[in-house]
Symmetry: C2
Subunit: 267 residues, 2 copies
């Protein structure tokens, strides 16, 4: 038996491909349909109302293409629009906040946890709420790092400029003595080596991508939605702006495992 329909994954752009890659590794039988809203990226600087509207349009697009489960692979959209989606959709919906918060809460010894993300994600307080729900009394220090996305997209992930920018952003977190840091934006894993060097081995970095893939596997199994054992998975990509640019950046994120991108205008 099994359910051969694809898992739907969306992000405001290409950052969610880090989550997609983790899903492929964790669930090699599952087909995926990825949507990048590149015509309206980024979401991190926009209001909750606008992000919710875009999120609903993205979800509707994927639902119409018959997905069996939806992964919101965008921290900002997960932070502000997940309950809204859960109320409206008939398929299971997962965001990246709760799996990341769960992992951080479990692994922190001191209970002092740092969260970095876009302005929208940090302002929403979604990580603080999710952490508090899992581990009451936890101390959460949030810090918006808007330049990190620009640096990651520019390919400036090591060297003097990113080091100085990161040092500036991380100062508060270091002073607060966090022992765990949630990378609350799908672009940030590209800066992981740099963050690791600056923070030292005593601070654990939590990358939501792997945690979200593990949670997806659990939900699929529980709901009896796993793909058939003999399934030959298909990987499809759609974006709302120029497929050529998505393809170039996508190959960088996924190591070449992407050769065609459809275009579909949204909104």
């Amino acid at each position: 038996m099994g359910d051969p329909r694809p898992i739907g994954v969306f992000d405001s752009g290409i950052g969610g491909l880090t989550v997609l890659k983790a899903l492929w590794e964790r669930l090699p039988n599952e087909s995926t349909l990825y949507l990048g809203d590149t015509a309206r990226v980024p979401y991190g600087t926009k209001s909750a109302e606008v992000v919710t509207r875009y999120t609903e349009q993205n979800a509707r697009f994927l639902i119409e293409r018959d997905i069996k489960l939806l992964v919101v692979a965008c921290n900002t959209a997960s932070a502000v629009a997940l309950p809204h989606l859960e109320r409206r959709l008939q398929v299971p919906v997962l965001g990246v906040i709760s799996p990341g918060a769960q992992a951080a809460a479990e692994r922190s010894r001191s209970g002092r946890i740092g969260v970095i993300g876009t302005a929208g994600t940090i302002r929403s307080g979604a990580y603080a709420r999710a952490l508090e729900a899992v581990r009451p009394g936890v101390e959460v220090v949030g810090k918006a790092c808007p330049l990190f996305v620009a640096l990651a997209e520019e390919g400036w992930v090591s060297g003097e400029v990113p080091r100085l920018v990161a040092r500036e952003y991380l100062a508060e977190l270091k002073d607060a003595g966090v022992d765990t840091l949630v990378l609350g934006c799908t672009h940030y894993p590209l800066l992981k080596p740099l963050l690791h060097t600056l923070l030292g081995a005593d601070v654990r970095l939590i990358d939501s991508a792997e945690e979200t893939a593990a949670e997806t596997a659990r939900v699929l199994a529980e709901a009896g939605l796993d793909a058939p054992n003999d399934a030959r998975p298909t990987y499809r990509f759609v974006c709302s702006d120029d497929p050529a640019r998505f393809l170039t950046l996508g190959q960088r994120f996924l190591g070449g495992a992407i050769d065609h991108v459809e275009r579909h205008p949204l909104g």
Copy 2:
């Protein structure tokens, strides 16, 4: 007599307020209606097709509110969508590229001119074409500086980080020996003191805002569209995302001369 209708001005976000300010200074009798497409900002990373679609929606919104002239106060939109708009609109349309190029071509002694802007603006080659049209044989060195917008919005316009970023971006332009540099993005004037320090007094910086205001004055006069001499100008603002954030940033750009912003979803 005179024509009391407002001048329509739009930008992808708040950057165009530098152009608006120059218009107010140059044309104190004119009313303005400013639209910031903050729900879809930025345009600089998006394809020509998408930017053209957004630009047309913005223009239509302003035209419906009875403007007498349209200023496209966004370099990316001017670079890729101006001819498209000119063919479709019944009112005069001005972009920021041509006035900036005109001024640079006139003031450069050596004929070696640098242009910095978003990826979209530089990729379009619009400044190079405009410069070549005014001054055939001119040598144009374009450089996309995507981090500058993030720095300006973060308020990091002086100090070590912006200095290093700017040094990196400007290296090619310095090596090429340009004697004039067009600030081809409305955010960049905020970095002017830093750029001036790094490039030295021998390199002239061209800020399109003032040039565009001067050109607007000329076009209004020629077309007999000037406001009445006794006009009491009104300044209205509309944006497509959260007015509160637009207001905060707008006050920073305009020095307080903005107290109300309407919201209108676009697209």
